[in-house]
Subunit: 311 residues, 2 copies
């Protein structure tokens, strides 16, 4: 029986759940936590399934050919491995579906003024705020990959005009710009900016004071991608000055968000604990199983992460 | 030039806005606020356009044939006029669209656990709550008229299973029950109940302790219809006992909601100031103008409110 290694850092409960579901999805292989492998077994391992792995455990697998991440965002893994082994990241339509749903949910949260109405309720204030129809609320999607396209489709179906920005101007059924000039154009003409970019050398700090100042007065930001893409201090400044209305943040430079962070208690920031799109273990396991089965049958690797691009 | 009366109670700004937009939409008639009518003009008036009118002003129009309300909910007007003159209520696809949008927005607010995450943020608590997919979250729409059908369409497109309840089991592309037994069946099998019923003698107090107890443990309620349909004290009790998780209330027995109301500060209640579906003066004026023009051309009244049913 082919042996596959499982390398995860997390709670024991999570590991047990993943092992159970993955073993059901891949009954023809022997899936073993790294710590249970003896020296001989370690030399047999060609594929590892990983979730936030300790790189030392991976380096102890001398014949490792590739790694399947259970996560969609792999920037830390890529940095830690530094090109030593090909990485396949999770691309799950269910993950894109739930991300699209989250983008729509928190876009409606902003368009329908829910933060302001919550504040009014605390002050027992009965005031009807002006209604802004979706057609009057321009959305920008930064990052038009699988998730960005799923989000755009949801938003357009709800009546929001959508413009995208992407490293390459990918074919899509909405206008997509690229490059620094394209980014300025998109930011200048958007009432809500949704960040779904991968974290790479190029996107780190991309949403800084300059980018935020290009957004129209009163605009809002949703970051469902990675914390370091947005410069938190610059965002707080733009909110404090009243240039931006609100920010919904699901991702942070450090997670869990430290208790001392000023983001927790900022009245114009909604803090979420990285829940915009949660991995569905069942659909994820089916996709991972399919990729591994194809490799075992044919020797073909699934599409791997580009070391230069970083995703 | 045919004279039409305009009878409204509200701010002067609102009245001026309505008069301006209605006059543009009906340039062939002379639209006059009731107070500007002399005795002779009062005897010419056959049609009045009203928004929350003083019934005394309407009784001063001896030849009044019918009234067009700018509102969709006309229970107070019907009670005050008591059958003395036919009433046409506003049925505006744009109003149904924005109500459908509101139902989807606050359904996602509940499904995505936004009230609980807001509470966690206040306590600086980083906890990922279990994700419940729309397919696992059963929606009930009470009242499957224009607005209910628009809401159901949005919810089904977002993946929520929808069941309806209506006075008559109207044809719809989702199951619709009726009668008291039907109501119990719908309530027992719903995780979120959305009330869009008209306020009538039959629906007043319909959602009482018994109805709330039929909802599953952990269910939530959205009332976007009229306050008195839900017995507020029974709702508070169901929330306090933990039987229900949350309620989103946009309508109240008395509006504006009095400062002394316990609803304002209840941790499991979201209070909105009657903003779920706001009238769009432009689309509403076009519909009212079309109805009045047809009457002036042909003598045909639009569909009027049934005095017995009350809507």
């Amino acid at each position: 029986m082919t042996k596959i290694a499982f390398v995860a850092r997390g709670s024991e409960g999570e590991e047990a759940q993943w092992l159970g579901v993955l073993r059901s999805a891949l009954p023809e292989v022997s899936l073993l936590p790294c710590r249970d492998l003896d020296e001989a077994s370690r030399h047999e391992i060609e594929v590892a399934i990983v979730a936030n792995p300790d790189p030392a455990e991976l380096r102890a697998l001398p014949r490792l050919k590739w790694i399947h991440s259970l996560w969609a965002g792999v920037e830390r893994l890529m940095a830690e491995l530094d090109g030593s082994v090909p990485v396949v990241r999770l691309v799950d339509p269910e993950l894109s579906r739930s991300m699209g749903e989250a983008v729509l949910a928190w876009t409606l949260y902003l368009q329908r003024d829910m933060p302001a109405y919550a504040d009014q309720q605390r002050r027992k204030l009965w005031t009807q705020r002006p209604y802004r129809a979706p057609s009057e609320c321009r959305l920008a999607i930064l990052g038009t990959g699988e998730m960005g396209q799923a989000a755009a489709a949801r938003l357009m179906a709800a009546g929001f005009p959508v413009t995208g920005w992407n490293r390459t101007p990918k074919g899509a059924d909405f206008p997509v710009h690229s490059g620094p000039v394209g980014l300025s154009r998109v930011l200048e003409a958007s009432d809500i900016v949704v960040c779904l970019l991968p974290l790479t050398a190029e996107t780190r700090g991309l949403i800084d004071a300059k980018a935020l100042s290009q957004m129209p007065h009163g605009a809002s930001l949703i970051n469902f991608a990675r914390g370091p893409i947005v410069v938190a201090a610059d965002l707080i400044d733009a909110l404090d000055r009243g240039h931006l209305t609100h920010a919904v943040l699901d991702v942070f430079d450090q997670e869990p968000l430290p208790e001392a962070s000023p983001l927790w208690s900022h009245p114009r920031i909604t803090v979420l604990p990285h829940i915009s799109a949660t991995t569905n273990v069942h659909t994820a396991a089916a996709i991972v199983a399919g990729n591994i089965r194809r490799f075992l049958d044919t020797g073909d690797l699934p599409k791997t992460v580009d070391q230069t691009r970083g995703y």
